[in-house]
């Protein structure tokens, strides 16, 4: 049985936020939603200040509070460890969001617009000859597929008003044997993804070699995202350079 996990090497992360960008393009999330989020922290007082970074995807907890509180079973955990939202099942009560200590849930407050990033007219025929008809960043056809053995609508999520969405570990890519978009994009290989049951995968070797820690270990959520290097964040760290949606 496959069990997926992710390792985040904070000694390698340079805080470039390319993972956030690739996540948005891959999953077509609406503006202001960051399934993968990279904190940029500042700590200490001048002149003894230090900067640090902390990528925060969904932790895909083994003891997931969001799964427990979901009143209709829309939030569930697959056997391979991935925690998903069935967007056809979700009633939009947002209980998962208040239950999650990591703040990874994003609600579709309004109807996601087709042209949420209106730059170019993707319907232009000349453009289509160059892009083979692909329309980034809106609409990756894979996101419309039913996923996994449960055959539920779980990929994407930024398509429907009134339902919850969050990081899926790019389930539509993982099911094809690909890495999640953030992992595939990371220029410093700070993100490592794979099967932890097989001892020969890069992530298994990585986790065996390195000392790891989990985010908010005290919460007892047993995350499947493990951190290497750095140190757990405290409230002494002040977040700087926050991104935001444009009006």
């Amino acid at each position: 049985m496959v069990k997926y996990a992710m390792a985040v090497d904070l000694d390698r992360c340079q805080g470039c936020r390319a993972c956030m960008e690739s996540c948005k393009v891959e999953n077509n999330t609406v503006q202001g939603n960051f399934w993968m989020y990279v904190f940029r922290f500042e700590e200490g007082t001048y002149p003894n200040t230090e900067m640090s970074f902390l990528p925060r995807p969904c932790q895909h907890c083994d003891n997931a509070p969001c799964v427990k509180v979901c009143p209709v079973g829309a939030r569930y955990k697959r056997e391979d460890g991935i925690v998903l939202t069935d967007t056809d099942r979700c009633i939009g009560c947002r209980y998962c969001e208040v239950a999650c200590p990591y703040g990874v849930n994003y609600f579709n407050w309004v109807e996601p617009k087709k042209a949420q990033y209106p730059v170019v007219n993707w319907e232009d025929e000349d453009l289509a000859t160059v892009t083979s008809g692909a329309v980034p960043p809106y609409r990756n056809p894979d996101l419309d597929e039913l996923q996994g053995p449960e055959q539920r609508h779980t990929a994407g999520g930024g398509h429907a008003k009134g339902v919850m969405e969050k990081c899926t570990f790019c389930v539509h890519r993982v099911d094809k044997g690909l890495d999640p978009a953030c992992v595939a994009t990371c220029p410093t290989n700070a993100l490592i993804f794979g099967d932890t049951e097989d001892p020969d995968t890069p992530i298994s070797r990585y986790l065996a070699e390195k000392r790891t820690w989990d985010l908010l270990e005290d919460a007892g959520t047993e995350p499947r995202v493990h951190y290497v290097g750095g140190s757990p964040p405290t409230h002494a760290r002040v977040e700087i350079e926050r991104p935001k949606a444009r009006a």
């Binding site: 209709v72 099942r89 209980y95 200590p101 703040g103 849930n105 007892g220 409230h235």
Partner: protein, 434 residues
């Protein structure tokens, strides 16, 4: 001992007589309700994004806001109504009997308002109803909200209202009026014979015995909606359930007093019967409000004394930060309310004016307290060092909330014109031909 010929003229307690003030009340309540419906239409078409709600964390908002506060508050209020009615019946407290129907009405009304607020808060309300029936999971603390509270408690209080009203309905059916068919339907063959009375008492007794645990269980789960959240500082803890109950009792009794005073005023002479209940209700409110204050103080002391780092932010926000005005307003109103109640108790004179004032203060305090339970843990309770968030309901949420409140008021207002709000005295006979 009214004779049959007078009965053809006027129904008791102003039933069926639509007065000017009543029309004014209905007009105002309808206008507020209509505006609320318009606001909700805006929300339903544009999405919950029309409200001031926003995601916790990177967006620095509260994902649960005024609507959830209303759910918690009104489900809490519903507790007192049916509990007082049950108390009056199980222990045969004659003084409380005149307010039993008002209490039941309050329960039904506030439950409807609270449950409507649940639906209004959903991103997919229709899907909510349907999927809860198909897939609801007992592991979620929401399970009880819609099964035990939404169905069990609502149905039980309707049954209470129905069975408890049959005798009055039978009396009303002896009057000739356009509502006669309705009263006959409600009376459903009741003739006030000895065995019938006995059977009624037995049914009501067992229903009362059954409903109290149902209340405690279902309302405790309402507190557990918050108390089970380990990831949300300020929420997690076993105090949430009893805290919810105590505050529910205080706000419920306070609302009952206000409603009873309004009914008394509306019914004129006939309404004076409810006055026998005020000393009882006043004492219960005093006890509940004292317990409520106790919980408030204990909470504040623990916040001030030994605060885990993650809860310190919330503590500061509550005591000295952005929520401090609400905190101290809630605390102050509760104190003033208690002072008035204590004075009334000491003088053993439960004057309606000060009692209602105290009730309104306690009620507002309880609402503020619910707000402080729901909101600050979301804006200030992120365990990861996100930016501090902010939330305050916008006009749309307030309009929808006011509309919901008006809906409850409208239901009760309509009810008192089709049925006696105060149970009739034993002297009034049920005519044999009813």
């Amino acid at each position: 001992m009214t004779s049959h010929d007078t009965r053809t003229r006027q129904l008791p307690q102003g039933v069926g007589r639509l007065t000017g003030p009543w029309w004014a009340f209905i007009a105002i309540a309808s206008a507020v309700l209509l505006f609320g419906v318009y606001a909700y239409w805006r929300q339903a078409s544009g999405g919950l994004g029309e409200t001031a709600l926003a995601d916790t964390g990177t967006m620095g908002g509260a994902t649960w806001g005024l609507y959830v506060v209303m759910v918690e508050y009104f489900i809490g209020v519903s507790f007192a109504g049916v509990a007082i009615a049950a108390l009056a019946r199980v222990f045969h407290i004659a003084d409380l009997k005149p307010v039993t129907r008002i209490a039941e009405l309050l329960t039904v009304g506030s439950l409807l308002v609270g449950l409507a607020a649940v639906l209004i808060d959903l991103g997919h309300p229709a899907r909510g109803l349907w999927h809860l029936l198909l897939y609801a999971r007992p592991q979620s603390a929401f399970f009880a909200t819609f099964t035990l509270v939404g169905v069990g408690l609502l149905l039980a209080s309707l049954v209470y209202l129905f069975l408890g009203g049959r005798r009055d309905a039978a009396i009303m059916a002896t009057y000739e009026s356009r509502l006669n068919w309705y009263h006959r339907w409600w009376a459903s063959g009741y003739t006030d014979t000895g065995p019938e009375r006995e059977r009624h008492m037995r049914a009501m007794f067992w229903l009362s015995i059954g409903i109290v645990p149902l209340l405690v269980v279902s309302l405790s789960t309402e507190g557990l909606v918050f108390g089970l959240q380990v990831g949300r500082p300020g929420w997690f803890g076993s105090m949430q359930a009893p805290d919810f109950l105590v505050l529910a009792a205080a706000s419920g009794v306070a609302n009952l007093i206000v409603l009873a005073a309004m009914v008394r005023r509306a019914l004129g002479k006939a309404g004076e019967a409810v006055e026998s209940a005020f000393p009882w209700l006043g004492r219960i409110l005093l006890a509940a409000a004292l317990a409520g204050l106790y919980f408030m103080v204990v909470e504040m002391v623990s916040l001030l004394y030994a605060t885990p780092a993650d809860e310190r932010l919330i503590a500061e926000a509550l005591l000295t930060g952005v929520y401090a005005p609400i905190t101290w307003l809630s605390f102050g109103l509760m104190l003033i309310g208690l002072a008035i109640l204590t004075r009334l108790a000491a003088k053993r004179a439960w004057h309606v004016g000060p009692l209602v004032l105290a009730s309104v203060l306690v009620s507002i305090s309880a609402f503020a307290e619910r707000y402080l339970t729901v909101v600050p843990s979301q804006t200030h309770g992120m365990l990861l060092p996100y930016e501090i968030g902010a939330y305050f309901p916008n006009w749309l949420e307030i309009a929808v909330g006011a509309g919901l409140f008006a809906l409850g008021a409208l239901l009760i207002g309509l009810f008192i014109k089709v049925f006696p709000a105060i149970p009739m005295t034993d002297e009034e006979e049920v005519s044999a031909h009813a």
